[in-house]
């Protein structure tokens, strides 16, 4: 029986070229590619325009990763289970608008924590509806969530309202301004790192624990790897489906409130159209669009990369229209890179 062992050891050691070893390492650690791309963008942009390295700019970017990051974690969890969710922006818009309206009109004194809690629960319910539909209809989740996205958005605009809320509830406004720390730059300008970036930090930790330290996490990857086999091995597809969509909905609900708090207004038309950008960020972070893979670290790197491209290319004088093209090239490049398989 030892011959199999030694065979495997031998074939592993067997004259593997350095190139193959490097590709193999990258294939096992896809986020490394994302990290290299990020470093590359930073070095290039930073050497052309040193303003890039200013603390205020870094704070700006940290701020704008929060909503994207929350969305992306939800997309990651759904994608890892082999699904695709495009309804999260609609859920976020719905939750943020309804809650802003309710709090403003009925409970203007409500503090931020219960607001976040209600948003999370509301988002989770809407997401769970996606999960129930996907698992009951046995329909592709992309189609189901395209449908629910339109239904939720249409419902919001038809029955709830289209007017902007310029004066958001006090607690949300205060939370958006609350500083984690300040930084005084040499020219006297003050920049602020807001407390709400901690919401993303908590979400990252919780999602990581969920995916890596619970049976549910493993079940999510199992179902994403091959749903039929996972079912045969005793994993409940229904539980996994409902859970992942509810979880994505929960994060979307919280992201909606973060969006209002940081922009200081609630616009029901906001957030629409950013679904693909978020999915691209997750794929840039090394998750396969066909499911069963992806990591929290990679996803966060993907979000940073997308944010970088969106926010800093303007610093080196690239017009926003070509930024889009550069982002597209990154996505195509990453897609090609991650489809390389090491030779067995």
């Amino acid at each position: 029986m030892t011959d199999i062992t030694s065979d495997i050891a031998a074939s592993r050691a067997h004259a593997e070229s350095a190139f193959n070893r490097v590709t193999r390492w990258f294939v096992r650690h896809p986020p490394a590619v994302t990290a290299i791309l990020i470093a590359l963008v930073c070095v290039v942009v930073g050497s052309i325009n040193p303003d890039f390295w200013q603390i205020s700019n870094l704070f700006d970017m940290a701020r704008s990763t929060v909503v994207r990051g929350l969305f992306a974690l939800g997309v990651l969890v759904v994608l890892a289970a082999g699904g695709l969710d495009v309804s999260f922006t609609a859920i976020a818009a719905f939750v943020m608008y309804v809650i802003t309206m309710l709090v403003t009109n009925c409970f203007p004194e409500m503090p931020i924590l219960p607001i976040l809690l209600v948003a999370a629960i509301g988002g989770a319910f809407l997401g769970a509806a996606n999960g129930v539909l996907v698992s009951t209809l046995k329909a592709p989740s992309l189609i189901v969530t395209i449908g629910t996205q339109y239904v939720i958005r249409g419902f919001l605009l038809t029955f709830i309202g289209t007017a902007l809320f310029m004066n958001i509830p006090m607690s949300m406004d205060a939370f958006g301004k609350l500083a984690l720390f300040h930084h005084q730059s040499a020219n006297g300008a003050t920049s602020t790192m807001p407390v709400y970036v901690l919401v993303l930090v908590v979400a990252v930790i919780v999602t990581w624990l969920l995916l890596n330290r619970t049976l549910m996490g493993r079940a999510i990857y199992a179902v994403g790897g091959n749903a039929g086999i996972a079912e045969r091995l005793g994993y409940s597809l229904r539980k996994v489906h409902i859970f992942v969509f509810a979880y994505a909905g929960l994060l979307a609900g919280i992201a909606g409130i973060m969006h209002v708090a940081s922009n200081r207004l609630a616009n029901p038309f906001d957030l629409a159209g950013s679904e693909l950008e978020i999915i691209a960020a997750v794929v840039l972070g090394g998750a396969r669009i066909t499911g069963g893979s992806g990591s929290v670290l990679g996803t966060m790197l993907g979000v940073v990369l997308i944010t970088l491209v969106n926010n800093v290319l303007i610093l080196v004088g690239i017009p926003s229209t070509s930024q889009l093209a550069i982002l597209g090239l990154f996505i195509v490049g990453a897609g090609a890179l991650f489809s390389i398989k090491p030779r067995a």
């Binding site: 029986m1 031998a10 074939s11 049976l215 079940a219 091959n226 045969r232 005793g234 409940s236 893979s293």
Partner: protein, 525 residues
């Protein structure tokens, strides 16, 4: 090494409860629409014994396995596990009761690591299917390492964390078995475990099974390969048409007798080819080389049946793919009827007159949801062009019908999907597709993998008829009896080179096996 798996709890209970059999199947019935798949099947699985569930495709053995492993409910009858009647068995329930199934497709999760594939089930069963539990990484690693060492696989952290999709098929097979024994199994069901393995790996598998038996684990094989059943030994449970025909000691019965019970008719295992073939040369392969084989030269005559065999790493598969233009060779050349053939893509190989029937017909060959008609004409759409370059439907239908009739595919309607066919019939559809291109050379890769005894016989007759009509046939296979029965000559490959070429007349299986496994002088790589 197998002794290192000490299933203490099991060893303890076995002594006390040895009087009670592990599993009793009583009068099991199952109906699908109008078809009675199981018509009251009963048998008993004793502890630590080996069984072989045998029968042709469609005899009900898959249904039986699905019911025992909780994948499908029965319509009638009962299952008694450890003396207790169980009702409404689901996959988790079956696993909790100690029934482990190693499925034909192995049912490994490709994206998960080795340790997760081996040991996650145990935690899932302990949680009774609930997912709201922490994952115990340490226990996972320990359980996996113990089970893996019992089947002779490495247990270092690098191997444990390798995704299963990056491993070769023989290793995956052992991982699937390791999973089965990682969770204190009482009965391990192995559904055609040896279809993807060569003989050396089968020997390894048999050793693992012996080790399991010593620990009081019962094993139920589901298989078509009579030779292997006899090598393993144990009780044969033979089914036909949803009924149990008989139980017998598999070693005491002749293959002819077992085949008769399974099919209800006499099968012969005579050799079709008795004299060496002499015909004009069709194919000439000169010093062909690629990544995993090199310096391969041989000729095949018109009307000759030429066998190629070797272990999994021998390069035989890669040679087949090179001849089919799927992964072209890098060195050397191939001539057909005297002129050099361009085999740089599958389309060019087809143009040159080479038809290739792949090994894994489910994933590489057939479009399962499409109709039999569409599958047959797939390779000759160009030639069936009618007015305005559109497909000439009538000619297409006529060609498909003729091919299907020729090959005696059992189907009421060629518009039915391929999924409606049994394995043997599906294989014939695939062969039929390649006959429509009227090849000069037909390459059959594992032509009877997963095909039952009766269909095997029909496929062999088709091969012989084609050769008789002047077509050259190359059979690439690790089923040695199949090669001996069909071929004029058999070439053995070893570590990417030609090891020997034998005349099949009077050749014994052992000579082939020795040639396949001989150690060459270059030693360890």
């Amino acid at each position: 090494m197998a002794d290192s798996v000490t299933l203490e709890s099991r060893a303890g209970t076995t002594a006390a409860a040895s009087a009670i059999p592990f599993l009793e199947v009583r009068d099991l019935q199952k109906r699908f629409g109008g078809v009675q798949a199981l018509k009251g099947v009963s048998f008993t699985i004793e502890r630590g014994k080996t069984y072989h569930l045998m029968g042709e495709n469609g005899c009900g053995k898959s249904t039986l396995i699905k019911i025992i492993s909780g994948a499908q409910p029965a319509d009638g009858g009962e299952l008694v596990i450890n003396g207790k009647s169980v009702d409404g068995l689901d996959p988790i329930g079956a696993l909790a009761a100690g029934i482990e199934t190693v499925y034909q497709d192995l049912s490994l999760l490709p994206n998960l690591s080795v340790e997760e594939n081996v040991a996650l089930t145990r935690q899932l069963v302990a949680a009774n299917g609930s997912l709201a539990r922490p994952l115990d990484r340490k226990a996972l690693r320990q359980t996996a390492a113990k089970a893996l060492s019992a089947v002779g696989l490495p247990t270092d952290p690098y191997f444990l964390s390798t995704p299963v999709e990056q491993l070769p098929i023989a290793t995956r097979q052992l991982i699937a078995i390791a999973r089965a024994i990682a969770s204190d199994a009482g009965l391990v069901i192995m559904d055609e475990p040896t279809t993807a393995l060569t003989r050396r790996e089968v020997d390894n598998l048999i050793r693992v099974v012996r080790g399991m038996q010593q620990n009081g684990v019962s094993v139920l094989f589901v298989t078509h390969k009579l030779d292997e059943c006899k090598a393993i030994g144990g009780t044969a449970i033979i089914m036909r048409d949803g009924q149990k025909i008989t139980e017998c000691d598999v070693a005491e019965q002749s293959k002819t007798q077992l085949g008769f019970w399974m099919t209800g008719r006499e099968l012969d295992d005579k050799r079709y080819r008795s004299a060496p073939h002499s015909g004009e040369r069709l194919l000439s392969v000169q010093s062909l080389g690629a990544r995993s084989f090199d310096d391969v030269s041989f000729d095949v005559a018109r009307g000759e049946v030429f066998g190629v065999t070797g272990l999994l790493d021998s390069g035989r598969n890669e040679l087949a793919l090179a001849l089919a233009g799927i992964s072209p060779a890098r060195r050397g050349n191939v001539s057909l009827s005297g002129s050099v053939a361009d085999l740089s893509s599958p389309a060019k190989a087809i143009d040159a007159g080479i038809g290739y029937v792949p090994e894994d017909r489910l994933s590489e060959g057939l479009f399962l949801e499409k109709s039999i008609r569409e599958n047959v004409i797939m390779a000759v759409l160009d030639r069936l062009r009618g007015a305005f370059g559109l497909l000439d439907g009538r000619r297409a239908r006529a060609l498909a019908q003729k091919t299907i009739d020729d090959l005696q595919v059992a189907t009421p309607d060629i518009d039915n999907p391929v999924t409606s066919l049994s394995g043997g019939n599906a294989q014939r559809v695939l062969i039929g597709r390649w006959l429509t291109i009227e090849p000069k050379l037909l390459i059959l890769h594992g032509p009877t993998v997963g095909v039952d005894v009766g269909s095997k016989d029909t496929i062999f007759r088709i091969i012989q008829r084609l050769a008789g009509e002047g077509m050259s046939v190359i059979i690439i296979s690790d089923d040695l009896p199949e090669l001996l029965q069909n071929c004029d000559r058999i070439m053995v490959m070893r570590k990417g080179r030609i090891a020997d070429t034998f005349d099949a007349a009077g050749l014994e299986e052992d000579a082939l096996y020795r040639s396949m496994t001989a150690e060459d002088n270059s030693g360890e790589r």
